[in-house]
């Protein structure tokens, strides 16, 4: 009797699970920009971002002015996986996981290269560590990929990815508290005319324009960090007054 009950319970559970998986609609793994929105919604807050004349008209930026929460108070960065927001009218069925992986892996690599010598990349969050959150916004479906476009050692994508209208949204948050330290929206149309048609597109000449666009977006993130780290006149005066090198003539006595 007990065995019968147990068997019935297991069968019912399995049936329930099966029916749930059959009836649940397949969720797209991509987020989409809403038709009526200027920004993607990737950043929690947009009103603080202002045009930055030290970069160009395409960049809106924010830097936390609290000295304790300034970029200079941090030493390293954890780079989060890149998120992708597809264009409002893009057919998400034609943008595969492989496409997403191709573009996000390369951009993450480009970002790491661009910022790594200024903010060493670490694996884990912790004190003095920032978390870099980044999204590629406006990814669209591109043209067909001809087999001849892709060499034998690189796998072609089912549909090319069009990055012509892509922009970048990023923010640096304290990796422990999550508080925002800096942010940037970059609307520079660097991907105009560029498509990604292979999983390892960085090796394929035909997609060189896409590679250059990603490298340039990453470089602009570094440029934002560089201009944000520049000393203001007050800091300059303090730094000059404070800095005294040690040397053979230093009269220090180690305690």
């Amino acid at each position: 009797m007990l065995n019968n009950l147990k068997t019935t319970y297991i069968a019912a559970t399995v049936l329930l699970a099966l029916s749930a998986s059959c009836t649940k609609p397949q969720e797209s793994s991509f987020k989409r920009i809403s038709a009526d929105q200027q920004f993607s919604g990737f950043l929690k807050e947009y009103s603080e971002l202002k045009p930055n004349p030290k970069i160009d008209d395409n960049a809106l930026t924010y830097v936390n002015r609290d000295a304790q929460k300034h970029l200079r108070a941090y030493l390293a960065i954890v780079v989060d996986p890149i998120e992708v927001y597809i264009a409002t009218n893009a057919d998400s069925a034609k943008i595969s996981e492989a496409s997403k992986t191709a573009v996000t892996n390369y951009f993450r690599h480009a970002l790491t290269n661009a910022v790594g010598d200024a903010y060493p990349i670490v694996e884990a969050p912790g004190p003095l560590v920032l978390r870099l959150r980044t999204a590629l916004v406006g990814v669209d479906v591109g043209g067909a990929v001809n087999a001849g476009d892709v060499p034998a050692d690189s796998k072609p994508l089912a549909h090319a990815v069009n990055i012509g209208k892509v922009g970048v949204e990023m923010e640096l948050v304290d990796s422990v508290t999550g508080e925002r330290i800096a942010a940037m929206i970059d609307k520079a149309a660097l991907g105009a005319g560029a498509e990604v048609g292979a999983e390892q597109f960085s090796k394929v000449n035909k997609f060189a324009a896409a590679r250059e666009a990603f490298d340039e977006w990453a470089w602009r993130v570094r440029q934002f960090l560089d201009v944000s780290m520049q000393l203001n006149p007050e800091e300059t005066a303090k730094a000059l007054q404070s800095y005294r090198p040690y040397g053979a003539d230093s009269d220090f006595n180690p305690q």
């Binding site: 000295a67 300034h70 200079r72 108070a73 030493l75 390293a76 790594g116 010598d117 200024a118 903010y119 060493p120 670490v122 884990a124 912790g126 004190p127 003095l128 560590v129 560089d226 780290m229 520049q230 000393l231 007050e234 800091e235 300059t236 303090k238 730094a239 000059l240 404070s242 800095y243 005294r244 090198p245 040690y246 040397g247 053979a248 003539d249 230093s250 009269d251 220090f252 180690p254 305690q255």
Partner: protein, 279 residues
């Protein structure tokens, strides 16, 4: 067949390693990391005392090449322990651009074994430290280094000049500071050559905890030395040791800094090298 292939591959790899490895043998001064990077230039009695004291307190031993003052961090500290504060003939695979050496042997030598006129005597000749450096050039270098944007409270870059030769030194957590310091001063008129001994520190999680703890403790008790995102007190953390650098107004403040940093969890030793303002 598979075994033969693996054996052949291993042989090929080890063969390549042998071809790539170049063993350098040179006379050196065995110093502590702290004194090698702060007491720049000639090996004086004060420097020898500094080397021995700071080594005893936990500063790692390093090799200083006599010819050009390049500081090399060894893979095996054990081989150097007996020789700190002394001269030695060192053999190993040196990577001068990275400031590291894979040590093979260390043999103590007497100062008299380096003949007069030998370039290796340069660091031993205390008269060299009296060669006046150009004050305007020194000030230009100081200005350039003070203006570096990525210098934080956890970096300290120092320099000295022996004649027209600049020795750059110190510790930084950022690779970009090492190269930028070099690039900023290489084109200054009057700079004849540069030895870059700036060490890039690893960012281990323990050291990061100590940095954050030390900064918080010092800001709480010595807040007047912290301004904006900079500070008059620099906090260098390496392998659990804290090195305090910079200038404070009084001996009392210097002592408070030691006490506060000694209370930071996981810190092994505090080297207080703060200078007290004169007058």
């Amino acid at each position: 067949m598979k075994v033969q292939f693996i054996a052949l591959a291993s042989l090929a790899v080890s063969g390549l390693q042998c071809i790539g490895a170049e063993i350098n043998t040179f006379p050196a001064y065995i110093d502590s990391d702290i004194c090698a990077r702060l007491m720049l230039g000639q090996i004086t009695d004060a420097r020898i005392q500094c080397s021995q004291k700071t080594f005893k307190d936990g500063s790692s031993p390093v090799v200083v090449q006599l010819k050009d003052n390049i500081v090399l961090t060894p893979n095996k500290e054990k081989l150097l322990k007996e020789h700190v504060g002394k001269l030695a003939e060192v053999s190993g695979e040196a990577k001068f651009d990275r400031g590291t050496i894979k040590l093979e042997s260390v043999k103590q030598i007497e100062p008299s074994s380096v003949p007069a006129g030998d370039p290796n005597r340069k660091l031993m000749d205390v008269r060299m430290s009296k060669v006046p450096a150009s004050a305007p050039v020194m000030e230009k270098i100081r200005h350039e280094l003070a203006m570096m944007p990525y210098i934080s409270q956890f970096d300290f870059i120092s320099f000295t000049m022996v004649g027209d030769q600049v020795i750059l030194t110190g510790w930084t957590v950022r690779q970009t500071n090492r190269s930028e310091a070099y690039n900023r001063i290489k084109s200054i008129e009057g700079v004849g050559g540069i030895t870059n001994n700036i060490e890039v520190l690893p960012l281990g999680s323990n050291d990061m905890q100590i940095r954050a703890g030390a900064r918080a403790a010092l800001q709480r008790h010595l807040s007047r030395y912290f301004w904006g995102s900079g500070s008059d007190i620099k906090i260098i953390v390496k392998n659990g040791n804290i090195i305090l650098l910079g200038t404070v107004a009084s001996k009392t403040d210097s002592d408070i800094a030691t006490i506060q940093c000694n209370s930071v969890p996981f810190a092994f030793h505090v080297f207080n090298l703060l200078q007290v303002k004169k007058g």
